[in-house]
Symmetry: C2
């Protein structure tokens, strides 16, 4: 039983963060499984299946927190397992492996484009849109609407502590869209003139809660208060299957020096603790729709995405576990 | 008819911002009226009254936006006018002028202390308090509760763009209070562990809306959502009488370079406009109580403060106008 060289290399690159970003990590993991299947010398179905499981486990253990990586593995391995359990031949299982991997990569590459298409239909001429942080999917929606000739304007919040709002503001402005750039605290002040809120997501839970950059929940809350639609742009590999088993998503705590520079903090009284949670949780009732590449769904339908991709909770086990 | 030298000097110092800060400006204006009354050479009631009016107008025109300055003038002049209209003697009117001025200054100096006393009673042992920006009155409440032996902890938001949260965090920490310092966007994430919100105010309107540092309304909103009490600490001279006549409070727009440094902004695409409103408006329904030096009132009782200080709207005219 051998794991091919390319798989080991990709695993290493994910681990040391040479490969980074939710989409890239997921596609690289799928590609690794594809290569494993293509280059396999396995003599029979069992040997092949065991190789695939080992490769998946290896990849899984590189970055345990990002949901996109296990999701890519699950997409492929769930299909391979079904075929294997169904008594298919070695060639049939191999085909399923390489084909599902290619399918995942294709879907992932097209997801942002599809989301832009679907989301842009919900943007109307003259809309003032508010967004937060930087999300390729959300930016895609706004650029698409603009390209379709809709006269929009976007309010971008700076997004402390790392100011990802700057990336968003520049990308939109370079596409020609007029941008108003404000501090995060100004969200309620500007909500009165806002028609739609479009933001991205890091993770979507089984009950439709949206985990995204800190500050997202405040904007969604005041949007709801103002009856302004909140649209979350999220590829389906952001949906978190373990939450269907009750698991809570870990909210990453980042370095306090992102908030207060180290040298400055050194001079502060010791009973000031600087906290830096990277994400907050927006409850589903504040989100109107999640725009996925499969369709525009209510957040409560997150369960349907998970069922489709990974099967029901009670049947659920990592496809590479026995 | 003469305006005494000291009044001209004080007016000049307020104008060129040698005298600054809501409280100091108000007390200096009252002091100017006191000196005007004490040093007056007026021969009769009419002459004295006209001098006082001229002095008040002069002071009024130095800084037209800050509400504390006209409020100090109104406090004194309203009482002087009543006495004058009531047919009192020159000496009686003079006494009313100097006495009301001293009263205003005394009240103002004691207001923060009184607010601390009243507010601290609403803080309970073990409370986790959230605050925003820097307010001497709000800090006073928290320090007083701590001095009374209540074991509190305070979550302080940094308050972009000018980071006044740093001043608050340090003042509380130096008093011994444990502080958690976070970005403004983290307010909803930390609201679940928060027991009380205590913030200051720049201006209170006749219908109890609180105008305060940008970001305040978001915190009040999520506090309301979590059934966490919002307490606004505000001296009565922050109450805005013209709002009783329908006037809207102007929301000051400050320099965009406070948000994005000038050199950086110069390199940005020209269709990004940086906006920097200094304040937002919190509707009265999100505020549980306003803690004033006169008592702890529901925001809807702002009207009672205004009536008490300035009389009813229909009767209302600047006391130095004819
Ligand atoms: N760490 C977490 N992981 C997964 N779901 C969460 C987590 N925290 C909160 N939720 C869900 O997000 C929502 C939080 O709503 P709220 O209590 O209004 O903030 C609820 O639907 C919770 O089930
Ligand atoms: N510029 C302003 N000056 C005075 N009151 C205001 C101003 N803007 C809003 N308000 C009041 O503040 C509250 C705003 O509530 P909301 O519409 O929920 O933000 C209302 O009570 C308004 O009457």
């Amino acid at each position: 039983m051998t794991i091919v060289k390319e798989v080991l290399e990709i695993a290493e690159k994910i681990k040391n963060m040479e490969i980074r970003g939710a989409g890239k990590i997921a596609r690289s993991a799928a590609l690794a499984l594809q290569i494993q299947a293509e280059k396999s010398n396995a003599k029979n179905e069992d040997e092949f299946w065991n190789e695939m499981k080992e490769a998946a486990k290896l990849l899984y253990n590189t970055r345990p927190t990002a949901v996109s990586l296990p999701n890519a593995l699950r997409y492929v391995m769930y299909r391979v397992k079904l075929t294997y359990n169904g008594g298919a031949s070695l060639d049939e299982i191999k085909f399923m492996a390489t084909n599902s991997a290619k399918e995942f990569i294709h879907n992932s590459e097209n997801a942002v484009k599809k989301i832009a298409e679907f989301g842009a239909k919900r943007v109307e001429d003259g809309d003032i849109i508010m967004t937060h942080c930087h999300s390729s999917a959300a930016v895609g929606v706004m650029k698409k609407a603009w390209e379709e000739g809709k006269d929009i304007k976007v309010i971008v919040t700076e997004t402390r502590p790392r100011y990802q709002g700057k990336i968003t503001a520049k990308q939109l402005a370079e596409a020609g869209i007029p941008v108003i750039y404000v501090v995060d605290g100004a969200a309620r002040h500007y909500m009165k003139m806002t028609d739609k809120v479009i933001m991205g997501a890091d993770t979507i839970t089984a009950n439709g809660a949206v985990i995204n950059k800190i500050g997202t929940a405040l904007i969604a809350l005041t949007a709801k208060e103002h009856r302004v639609w909140v649209m979350t742009a999220a590829e389906t590999y952001k949906f978190h299957p373990e939450t269907l088993l009750g698991q809570l998503v870990e909210i990453e705590e980042r370095d306090p020096y992102e908030v207060v520079p180290k040298e400055e903090l050194a001079t502060w009284p010791k009973n000031i603790v600087v906290k830096n949670p990277a994400f907050d949780v927006t409850p589903p009732e504040y989100v109107d729709v999640i725009i996925t590449e499969k369709g525009v769904i209510p957040p409560y339908a997150a369960i349907d995405i998970l069922k489709d991709e990974f099967g029901w909770a009670l049947k659920y086990r990592e496809p590479w576990e026995d």
